[in-house]
């Protein structure tokens, strides 16, 4: 760039970091602008999580009771009983079937419109068909999981629901409001937990919440209480005045979730809510999501974690290449597509190949992993099967069978 040695007075702000051109020469302004940015925001490192601190873990147990009380302020209903950190698997719980989707044969359709509905939605970016004829429905008060590998169209679907993407064709209704025409009204009624951390890093925890209390138009007289409740939900009351940069990855994720709940949304969209978190922190987030679902908030959650979908979701929609390939309750999907039990055959590669061929000849579906072959739908076998270890079939088996892709 040509440098013009002319005196100038330059006052600039890059991002939210105050930057002043220290030399006042036009030709160097660009470099100053880049250098002035907090390095943490210049790199796409949202998945990189600081180690959870001991206080983070210790605070969890002691603050659960406070969080239960805080939940009472979100959505207008209270949570009875404790919030388990280690959740039972979804299929072990006594849950009512979901009308129109779940097991138990035909169920009368619910008179209430769904929290959201997509009909035949297409969205392409150039030659890439990110969403290809997606049909999706989230009944009120349920948690629906979009399960798919990276690139399956999950995040695009979430963006379609916030009108940050406009569909090429198809219809979208959110809380009875057609999108994108009434997207702003719909966004006022829902909360969004993004996949990528977009917290204001120069602000404190409380300031981040205050900002979104304004953006979500929480009435002035309720704003302080709403922020305090969100702090309790996030278990961050003690860290309210800490800068976001001082938080661990788990704390930041909890703050993102609490931020989405500030205004008591009727629908919450969560885009990969636990991606990049360690197992302990993931369980914390699961407890938080489960408590939210329990108190009646409708949730659409995208994930590529099998266990997450199996534990949290009433309904799982398996997506691949932008379309839904199967929909149902996790246990039902497993029973329908993989059977009750699977047979795991181990051995050297040539033995595995033989076992796979024999099983297929016997009418059994197979799934090849690195060190074994999984035999599924054993009830359909018409011939002898090789020796192996029996194990319960799982959602991962279903996913691989239906999409041909490994996940996780």
């Amino acid at each position: 760039m040509g440098v013009v040695p002319v005196p100038v007075v330059t006052v600039g702000v890059v991002g939210d970091v105050g930057v002043v051109n220290p030399v006042g020469v036009v030709g160097v302004v660009t470099a100053v602008g880049v250098d002035g940015v907090d390095a943490s925001v210049m790199s796409d490192d949202s998945d990189e999580q600081p180690a959870a601190t001991a206080s983070d873990a210790a605070a969890t147990a002691s603050a659960m009771a406070r969080r239960r009380a805080a939940w009472a302020g979100i959505g207008g209903s209270s949570v009875s009983g404790g919030i388990p950190l280690h959740l039972p698997r979804r299929r072990d719980r006594a849950r009512p079937p979901i009308p129109g989707i779940c097991e138990g044969g035909p169920v009368p359709a619910s008179p209430a419109p769904p929290a959201l509905r997509l009909d035949g939605v297409h969205k392409s970016f150039g030659d890439v068909h990110a969403v290809a004829g997606l049909d999706l429905e989230v009944p009120v008060g349920t948690c629906v999981g979009l399960l798919g590998p990276n690139g399956a169209g999950k995040s695009t679907t979430v963006k379609l629901l916030t009108a940050q993407c406009i569909p090429d064709s198809g219809t979208i209704d959110v809380l009875g409001l057609p999108l994108p025409g009434q997207s702003k009204s719909a966004r006022a009624l829902m909360g969004v937990v993004p996949q990528l951390d977009n917290l204001d890093t120069t602000l404190t925890v409380r300031q981040n919440l205050v900002v979104f209390a304004h953006l979500y138009r929480v009435p002035r007289h309720e704003r302080r209480a709403a922020v305090d409740r969100a702090l309790e939900i996030a278990l961050l009351t003690d860290r309210a005045d800490a800068k976001v940069t001082a938080l661990s990855g788990g704390m930041r994720r909890r703050l993102l979730i609490a931020r989405a709940l500030l205004h008591g949304p009727r629908l919450v969209l969560m885009d990969e809510p636990t991606v990049g978190l360690d197992p302990q922190v993931r369980q914390e987030i699961w407890a938080l999501i489960d408590a939210l679902r329990t108190q009646g908030t409708s949730i659409l959650m995208s994930t590529h974690y099998i266990e997450e979908a199996a534990r949290l979701c009433d309904t799982v929609v398996i997506v691949a290449h932008g379309t839904a390939v199967a929909t149902g309750a996790p246990a039902e999907l497993v029973r329908e597509h993989a059977g009750e039990m699977a047979l795991e055959v181990y051995g050297p590669p040539d033995a595995l190949a033989r076992a796979e061929a024999d099983a297929q000849a016997a009418g059994v579906r197979t799934r090849r992993t690195g060190t074994s072959v999984s035999l599924l739908r054993l009830d359909a076998a018409t011939g002898p099967l090789p020796d192996g270890e029996h194990r319960p079939a799982n959602l991962e088996d279903v996913f691989v069978l239906l999409t041909g892709e490994e996940i996780g």
Partner: protein
Amino acid sequence: MSVPAPRRRLHRLEGAAIAGVLVREIINFSSYWRSVTFSSTVEPTIYLLAFGFGFGSLVAKVGGLDYVEYVGTGTVGTAVLFASAFSAMFGTFVKREYQRTYDGILAAPVDTEELVTAEVIWIALRAGVYGTVPLLVAMAFGLDPSWGMLAVPLIGVLTGFGWASFGTLVAALMKSIDSFSYITSIVITPVMLVAGTFFPLDGLPRWAQIAGQLNPLYHCVQLVRHAAFGWEPGPDLAHVGVLAAFGFVMWRLAVWRSEKRLIT
């Protein structure tokens, strides 16, 4: 807890949405205002010392004004230009691409038009305040204060609105922050030089004088000088009109391109 406006259809350019974005900016500003304010004060002091007394010793009067007075009022326009255009270019680009701030805001009940408008208003307000600093520094070196100078922040805000919109437009057009170098060289530098800031346009070639007349910053500088040394109602109304038209056109272009960039 109440749920806001359950079925009310929200409209364009709502005050609540703009206020929400402004609140975010104001709270953020609390974390960096010291460094910006310090530099905005020290820099003009250095430039006025260097050029006011440096060139001032060679050039006694320009346009009937002491050179310090001439530069002191002229650099108001430059300060506004840089405080608005660069803040908008780099700030909005970083918030969009790196901080992902706009993803969060647009997931709330805020539209792109409201987001851009609020950002531009905030940058313009700040530019209006920081634009007065060269004037204050010039006063310390001999510029006589006048009542008309009270209008300088308003002139700065009006000018800053246009240049902040321009910066937002540039940020929405560019895919890489490195590309801003082209804009700096091709647009910002000529605009700054051909604005009557450091020397009058009279001595320039005819085509440069015409270009100067089309330069919004020239109209800002003229307004500031007239505010400081005496209004000229007719021409000043025209200057205001040019700045207002520039601001409106740039604002609409910024909204249009930002929507293209943010809503896919």
